[in-house]
């Protein structure tokens, strides 16, 4: 019924157990919610301490466990969800999800980019876990749909909490810097406004308004700014072809690059390159 739920569980540990929680990596997305106790876990080579209400998020392929395999006293619940990893590294949810394709992509992207595996005081997760468990045990009419809804809900809340934790909604200059960095790191990606807004943790309308008043540009025009600036730097180096520059900086094609570049600067990229490399 739920092939995408790899594991669902709750554990109450009354005494310290040795070799009970060793490091492992899996292909699923793993989410743990602490009910009581205190746990020192290692995620992706870093040590974190979790208290009641906290949530651990382990991405596919990341190592997770307790360093010496010790499981401390306390209780926690968890879910392992299977998600698809595309060739370009993006992660998407499966067909079971009711999320739209672009929202699903955005969630995958935020999980990858805002890589902070420890969410502090995120009790909504515990409530959702409980609800999923009782739906599965009860098997009342409509339970399949409700379980899948709850998983969607979990991922939405998780992503929102994550962006709030990274961008607490006070420091727009800093938040904008983070966004700008994310764009630069992946300039070849066909960014949408929805994705950018989700990274900052705002709805698209408010996001566009804030970016416009802060930067003077719409989000997409600001992105074009970065693209052309990076392209100029590459054009001034002789060792990379104009087509490669176009694709590396996020243009669909060298034609698209050439048109955009000429509209702004008056030069075709190849002309521009010739002028600036004349003495070499």
């Amino acid at each position: 019924m739920f092939p995408h739920i790899l594991e669902l569980g709750i554990r109450k540990n009354v005494s310290i157990q040795l070799n009970a929680f060793t490091l492992s990596a899996t292909e699923g997305l793993r989410i743990y919610h602490i009910i009581d106790g205190k746990f020192e876990w290692r995620i992706n080579q870093r040590q974190y301490v979790f208290y009641p209400g906290d949530v651990a998020v382990i991405l596919p392929g990341q190592e997770f466990g307790s360093e010496n395999g010790v499981l401390e006293i306390g209780s926690f619940s968890w879910i392992h969800i299977s998600i698809q990893k595309k060739n370009n590294g993006e992660i998407v949810l499966g067909k079971w999800s009711g999320l739209s394709e672009s929202e699903s992509l955005a969630i995958g992207k935020i999980l990858l980019l805002n890589n902070s595996p420890a969410l502090v005081k995120f009790n909504e997760a515990g409530k959702i876990f409980k609800c999923i468990q009782s739906e599965i045990t009860g098997q009342e009419i409509g339970y399949v749909t409700r379980v899948n809804h709850q998983i969607d809900e979990l991922l939405i809340q998780l992503t929102r909490q994550l962006t709030r934790q990274v961008n607490p909604g006070r420091d727009f200059p800093k938040t904008f810097m983070n966004l700008e960095q994310a764009l630069r790191q992946n300039l070849a990606h066909q960014w949408t406004v929805e994705e950018m807004a989700a990274l900052v943790g705002l709805g698209t309308t408010l996001f566009t308004e804030r970016v416009k008043s802060y930067s003077g540009f719409s989000p997409i025009n600001y992105l074009i700014n970065i693209r052309i600036s990076e392209a100029i730097k590459l054009l001034k180096r002789p060792d990379i072809s104009v087509t490669d520059i176009a694709l590396d900086t996020g243009f669909y094609s060298s034609q698209h690059f050439s048109t955009t570049f000429k509209k702004l600067t008056g030069y075709r990229p190849s002309e521009f390159r010739k002028i600036h490399l004349r003495n070499k």
């Binding site: 810097m177 540009f217 004349r278």
Partner: protein, 507 residues
């Protein structure tokens, strides 16, 4: 109909204004560009992104406001933040990012020169304080720590020189920007041999200094086409943002001072004589061969109140700092003048004038059990403005200041303007919805085009109709507290150094 375009290459953004020939604003647009801090003391900007952002904004303004109304652009005049350094190779291509005024990597170089007798000679000759902001010391840093870049560099130029060179192909640096490099002798208006020798360069590795009215060649054909401008559009090299703001407020002549408070701030006077200060607290920059803009800069302006708001404001909507700041200002207004004895030193970013102590740090002083949250809000604003006053007061040791003009987003908030008038005990003037830097650029353009006979004539036409008058009883209270503020800022230097040592240990 003709019009004048001004382009300000500021710290965080480019601002483009269009004026008609009478100085009325036709339209304006801004475009942000980022500052990169790849290392703790580094502050860099990408010259290509600045160029592209400038082009983009200029093009939008032309297409939206100028071309549809058939204005003919007579000239484009530039202003820019001071102290930037960009190394370019023999093809004129940047070797890495531009280093901005806020960059502190040349700390060691600054300390060395400050402790050497040459420091006095160079400061007196060039008018630029010996501080890591100075391009002289940044070039020294490149020479000492980035030898490959130093070797490949054909010219060390400013961001503005680069932008204008991209547009016209010619290298010029205006007198104002040149006089803020620590390399120009401001008395003789030529490169200072001692400073050049100290930087390890010859004059041909700098752009040629030229008067602010200079026209830099012709706009390249490609840009004429993409912008829709005629080949006879004059590109005027212009001045620095500081000099432009002072001119734009009409501060030429006796008895006037101009205060700018944006993120950072400055107090400036203008005159035909250099301010000689034994303690080297002031800058002296050139507007023209016989006109000096002198004063002192602070690091800790509106940015400190923004910091306070982010920590303690209410933020009903995400990122709505403006509204949160307004709410805090309203709270501050309910607290008595002087915050019932709570004092704030605003040195969160270290300080330049007048104490020139990079290790200075912030402090709330005089707390007692009756102080409430609101007292902190008001004390923070008062502290920021006491610091402005401390610069003004040291300037008054040299010049008689009768009236003050204020510009910049923080200083022109009515609550702050009134407080400044009270603290200074002088009338403070301003014009609402006015951008002093751009207006200064308009005045230079209009003078270059013969609309005014001289900058003096141009400056005389500036009207600042809004006046905030000092309230005597408030001044008495502020003056008493300022006395303690001043003592704290100088007497704590040992403790500042000790705490900074510990803070840096932890970092």
């Amino acid at each position: 109909m003709e019009c004048i375009i001004t382009i300000e290459l500021g710290t965080n953004a480019v601002r483009v204004f269009a004026f008609d020939m009478n100085g009325h604003v036709i339209g304006s647009l801004k475009g942000y560009y980022p500052t990169f801090h790849t290392e703790p003391d580094y502050s860099e900007q990408d010259p290509e992104q600045i160029f592209i952002t400038m082009l983009y904004v200029l093009k939008n303004l032309l297409n939206e406001r100028i071309h549809p109304k058939k204005y003919k652009v007579a000239c484009i005049c530039f202003s820019a933040a001071m102290h930037s350094v960009l190394a370019v190779d023999k093809n004129g291509n940047p070797l890495g990012n531009a280093i901005t005024w806020a960059d502190n990597r040349a700390k060691k170089e600054a300390q060395e020169l400050n402790n050497s007798p040459l420091g006095d000679t160079i400061y007196t000759a060039t008018g630029t304080p010996i501080h890591p902001m100075s391009p002289l010391l940044k070039i020294c840093w490149i020479k000492n720590s980035d030898k490959e870049r130093f070797r490949l560099t054909s010219k060390f130029i400013s961001i503005k020189t680069y932008i204008i060179q991209q547009l016209t192909g010619e290298y010029f640096t205006d007198y104002s920007i040149a006089s803020a490099t620590g390399l120009l002798n401001i008395h003789k208006v030529q490169w200072e041999p001692d400073a050049l020798a100290y930087a390890g360069i010859t004059a041909d590795r700098l752009a040629e200094p030229a008067p602010v009215f200079t026209t830099s060649g012709k706009l390249k054909k490609a840009y004429q086409n993409s912008l829709g401008l005629s080949p006879d559009t004059k590109i005027i090299i212009g001045s620095s943002d500081g000099c432009m703001a002072t001119l734009g407020d009409g501060v030429k002549g006796e008895g006037k001072a101009s205060i700018t408070i944006e993120d950072s701030g400055a107090v400036r006077v203008m005159g035909d004589k250099v301010l000689q200060d034994k303690q080297r607290r002031f800058f002296n920059y050139l507007l023209t061969e016989d006109c000096y803009v002198s004063g002192g800069p602070t690091n800790n302006g509106g940015i400190i109140f923004e910091w306070f708001t982010r920590q303690f404001g209410f933020f009903r909507d995400p990122f709505d700092i403006e509204h949160s700041m307004q709410e805090l200002m309203a709270e501050a207004a309910k607290v008595p003048v002087g915050s019932d004895g709570l004092l704030f030193l605003p040195y969160l970013l270290g300080e330049r004038a007048p104490i020139w102590n990079a290790n200075a740090r912030g402090m709330y002083f005089g707390l007692n059990i009756k102080h409430e949250r609101n007292h902190f809000v008001r004390a923070t604003i008062e502290g920021i403005l006491y610091e402005i006053y401390s610069i003004g007061k040291t300037l008054e040791e040299h010049r008689d200041i009768k009236s003050i003009s204020i510009n910049g987003s923080f200083g022109t908030i009515p609550f702050c303007t009134q407080m400044l008038a009270d603290i200074f005990n002088k009338p403070v003037r301003l014009r609402r919805n006015f951008h002093s830097v751009s207006y200064g650029a308009y005045l230079i353009s209009a003078t270059a085009m013969g609309i005014y006979k001289s900058l003096d004539d141009a400056a005389r036409t500036v009207e600042l109709p809004d006046v905030y008058r000092p309230q005597k009883q408030n001044h008495t209270v502020y003056a008493a507290y300022f006395n303690i503020f001043e003592r704290l800022s100088t007497q704590l230097s040992d403790a500042f150094e000790a705490i900074v040592n510990l803070q840096q240990l932890k970092a």
